[in-house]
Assembly symmetry: C2
Homo-oligomer: 620 residues x 2
């Protein structure tokens, strides 16, 4: 029953040998890994314009130069990652590159930044996509948080089924989005140069903030930093190299170039059209929508464009679902995260990581009430921090390798590191009070957690691993002595009889104990005892304060003191197991409490108390 339910939902289990066949073709990989980067075209231009417009309409003409600089930066970063893909063919995300070349702390910092960013990617993309839908269907607006959670659940489900299926599932909308945007740009340019397209009348500035600031260098840098939102997701492919078909590095590198070219063309095209058409950001309609209406009219093609924009934003979350679990599994493999994150599920995906990401993102969506705008300022810090660390790491890498044209490569990466480092400073400066501070607090916290987990695993290894010296202790050869066994009872019923039966099968030194909280019941047990168990001693414990636990613990302490050579007494508990889940609330509260207390009791002299529940199953 349980298994067939799982199969219907998630597909049949896949054997480990199937692993290598579950790889992605380049076409599918582009859909899986680039939706995050490509979807940012939907808002990056608007972000630039929104900053520039505060300095007046004339400042808007700076948007195209800024977009060109960002595209240049994109070329640098993509080139850097292309080098990384080949330098680290088994997967070279910022964590691995920074860890290997810059040391543990920069590596963990990059990992923390990336993990936080993946969660934000899911939250931002889903909320932005859902807002796009609710803008078209205002009746759904009050349910936007619920719709976000539903979307997260659907993507989680798709990913739990396995990576090949998710490639198929997400190819159509990604390629539809690319095709629609390229068509939009092509038609726009043709109509513009053929003169059949009239720009908007010279800008009236409808926003409240418009034209209120002077055009300073800082403002231009801020516009540049805002536009850098276009570059989020560029690193996705370098983290996911091992998901590609063989030869992995070559395929990943080609996919990375394709993605960067598409992103650059679309971003520059949209920014050019926005400028040529004199589009200005307004309150109730996105820049993309304005361009779309002007170029395509309000017919079906415009509506499909809007739908595809909404869809790719939702699906951009999928990039994080491919990468977060993979990075978490690498961290778990290195001992910085709980081990279960490294377990491949029976569909060959890192199920625990997928579920963890979904829960964290859902939490963010609920906390921020499904508002994209509040999440955006948290977003860029982590991206540019990991860019900077990764590229700085690559510089060190080339210095260590010193092969071929290493000086050129180091120079490219060095340029990238300096540029993204500067962007990082601008982002922190301009968005600190809007939420960037939270990320600057969270990253050290996550790094500290990594270290605590690692320390614990190392410490445990030291305590648990059997050294070669242990082999000579010889404790394993002889058959160990039987333990003293204590069986607490409340009455003489089939459950306690089963417990006594088991206790007597494992040791000849069994004592039954009853805590006297109900005198009638105690008297009944005492009356019947001799005829049932003439050879088993029955101890009655007083309990003036009606607690069952305290007298039992005191008694066990006495027993242990009297028999130090036998080790701690074993406790055998009768436990009634009801047939339905809710009936558990009606039973065994004392047993549960006793087990919890005994589990957390500090063991005396390193020895540990063994508590055995003997289940007695009730029939429905």
């Amino acid at each position: 029953m349980r298994i067939s339910w799982r199969r219907t939902l998630f597909g049949r289990p896949l054997p480990t040998e199937a692993s290598v066949h579950q790889r992605l073709t380049k076409v599918k990989a582009l859909a899986v890994f680039s939706s995050d980067a490509l979807s940012s075209v939907a808002y990056a231009t608007e972000e630039i314009l929104l900053v520039l417009v505060t300095a007046g309409a004339a400042a808007l003409s700076l948007s195209l130069p800024i977009a060109c600089v960002i595209t240049g930066l994109l070329v640098i970063v993509a080139t850097s990652y292309y080098q990384t893909v080949h330098g680290y063919p088994s997967g070279g995300g910022a964590y691995i590159v920074a860890h290997e070349n810059l040391g543990v702390w920069p590596g963990l910092t990059a990992a923390a930044a990336l993990l936080i960013d993946y969660v934000l990617t899911v939250a931002v993309s889903i909320t932005a996509g859902v807002i796009a839908v609710t803008s078209a269907l205002p009746a759904l607006y009050p349910y936007r948080v619920e719709i976000c959670l539903l979307a997260i659940a659907l993507i989680t489900w798709g990913n739990l089924r396995g990576v090949r299926e998710s490639g198929t599932l997400f190819s159509i909308p990604t390629y539809a989005f690319i095709a629609l945007f390229l068509t939009l740009i092509a038609i726009g340019l043709v109509r513009l140069f053929s003169g059949s397209l009239t720009p908007l009348p010279a800008a009236t500035l409808p926003l409240a903030a418009a034209g209120t600031s002077p055009l300073t260098l800082f403002l231009i840098l801020r516009a540049f930093a805002s536009g850098c939102a276009a570059m989020t997701g560029t690193e996705a492919i370098s983290n996911g190299i091992t998901a590609f078909e063989k030869p992995e590095a070559d395929n990943a590198g080609k996919t990375l170039i394709a993605m960067a070219v598409l992103l650059g063309v679309m971003f520059l095209g949209i920014t050019y059209l926005a400028r040529a058409l004199q589009v200005v950001p307004i309150e109730h309609e996105s820049v993309i929508s304005q361009i779309g209406r002007l170029v395509l009219g309000t017919g079906p093609l415009y509506l499909v464009l809007q739908a595809a924009t909404a869809l790719i934003l939702v699906l951009a979350a999928n990039t994080a679902f491919a990468d977060f679990p993979r990075l978490a599994s690498i961290l778990a493999r290195d001992g910085y995260a709980p081990r279960q994150l490294a377990n491949l599920g029976d569909r060959l995906v890192f199920s625990n990581g997928i579920v963890a990401l979904a829960l964290l993102a859902a939490l963010l969506v609920v906390i921020f009430g499904g508002r994209t705008h509040s999440l955006i300022p948290l977003y860029a810090v982590g991206v540019f921090l990991s860019f900077t660390l990764s590229q700085a790491g690559m510089v060190r890498h080339w210095h260590a390798v010193r092969e071929g044209s290493w000086r050129t490569k180091a120079a490219i990466n060095g340029l990238g590191a300096v540029a993204t480092g500067l962007v990082l400073l601008v982002v922190i400066e301009s968005k600190f009070s809007h939420g960037a501070w939270l990320i600057l607090v969270l990253i050290p916290l996550v790094v500290w957690m990594f270290r605590a987990v690692k320390r614990h695993y190392i410490d445990m290894q030291g305590q648990v691993v059997v050294g070669t010296s242990g082999r000579r202790v010889g404790m394993q050869a002889s058959v160990p002595q039987q333990s003293k066994v204590v069986v607490p009872l409340s009455s003489l019923n089939w459950a306690s009889i089963a417990a006594l039966r088991f206790a007597r099968s494992i040791s000849q030194d069994v004592t039954a104990v009853i805590v006297d909280v109900n005198p009638q019941s105690t008297a009944r047990v005492q009356a019947d005892w001799q005829s049932w168990y003439p050879k088993v001693p029955l101890v009655v414990l007083e309990s003036p304060y009606r607690s069952v636990i305290t007298p039992l613990l005191e008694y066990l302490g006495e027993v242990d003191c009297c028999n130090p050579e036998q080790g701690l007494a074993v406790v055998v508990l009768p436990e009634i197991v009801p047939a339905r889940w809710w009936q558990h609330l009606l039973h065994n509260q004392t047993t549960l409490q006793l087990k919890a207390v005994l589990l957390f009791q500090q063991p005396l002299g390193g020895d540990a108390r063994i508590v055995i529940s003997v289940p007695y199953h009730l029939k429905g």
Copy 2:
């Protein structure tokens, strides 16, 4: 450490013998049991006026006749409960009376109604009290839910310390409220008759709904039903008789009379003053506050009156904290509720019931966002349902007893049952769509839960109790056979060595099992095995789908089939116990999952699998 923390918070444990000394004097009992009833004076008059005003200013003159009828009803109900207190000296709430005289279903219906009402009493009183505070201090308004939860937490704490202390704790505000209200009425009457008090100018009707409905009989009945809010809490004393000092019934009866007289005087006095001063309900100020300002001015006495009103509303919740756990313990004793609700805590209070009530009330406060107004319509249905059932039960009681003036007593109770029954119908009719429907759904649901719990306990008794025939089976005499023991391992470390050591101490038939999910680790164990445990067989299980659980379950199934006479194989699991709570997340996920699966596995042939964890404690 843990114990001293509990003692500081809740006081030292009390022995069972102290129970009889923990009783309440009449003065303290009045404070504990009557704050609910008395506090309703603060809003009952206003509720009447709010209905009447919809029929215009002239209709307001009906408020005094209606208040007189309600006071008459109060006399009837109080007399009925006075008879109940003497008829049921060991505690005669509606549940007991209806259960004994009308049967199981009416009894459980009354119990369900009462439990729900106790929760509502807490929620309504706390929210109303906090709103009274935030009206005076508007800056606190955004935090009203938090303040409500804090107040609930404080009252819970007081009650967990024990009933005598809570009597002392709550006496002062209750008596302050009584004194202030009686003073208000006395000064008001004196000033009114001495002519030094001028009524408000003849009513202008500021409310939007004012004067829009015709003055029908139904409207008058609705005003009456609303005013009956004054009567909530009248039954509290009859439920709590056993908390009184001896002679319990006499003391409880006298306290009941005192409470009814105080309630009647205060309610009539306030309603008379409201009428004589021509006070009309307005949006932003309560009727009590208007009367207070007119009679006392805006000096310190007025402010103290408002503070005492707020305080008694918060403390009214305490009535429920005395009664809910007591009724729950009676139901638990009868098998209708989980047994742990019948356990006296170490401070001689029903701790589990207190905590359950606090959690449910806190949930209601959060769901309804701290808004009293939304909770009020849910409130009256349960009160009058239990009044009606209780008094109908008393009629049957007197018919069965047939002693002394039983006809008179039966007639009084009969009158009460009919009157409260009619009020019940009016309440349901006039408040159905405002939330009363929810209670009409909840009561059958709770009754169904009572029955399910009872059925389960009866069923369990049948399966667990050892009949006299069992004694002759003789299974207890011989020492039982040793079980086959299976020890699953992942590697050969100190934890698995401890598990193997214990397994070999309890049986000579031990098999170690390793699931091959990590070939290196498996090979290492196989290489070392012979030198460690030459006599213990090691079985290696294949796992193509990387699951540890499934191959183990299959193996256990095979073992059980081969040895039907030995019973199910015992599983001994090595379990690493970390020193800190968060480290548990880093360990034993597979062990936990295996234990859960084995626990819920349907036992074959009634037999149950025993799973033993052998803990290995890590040092901090």
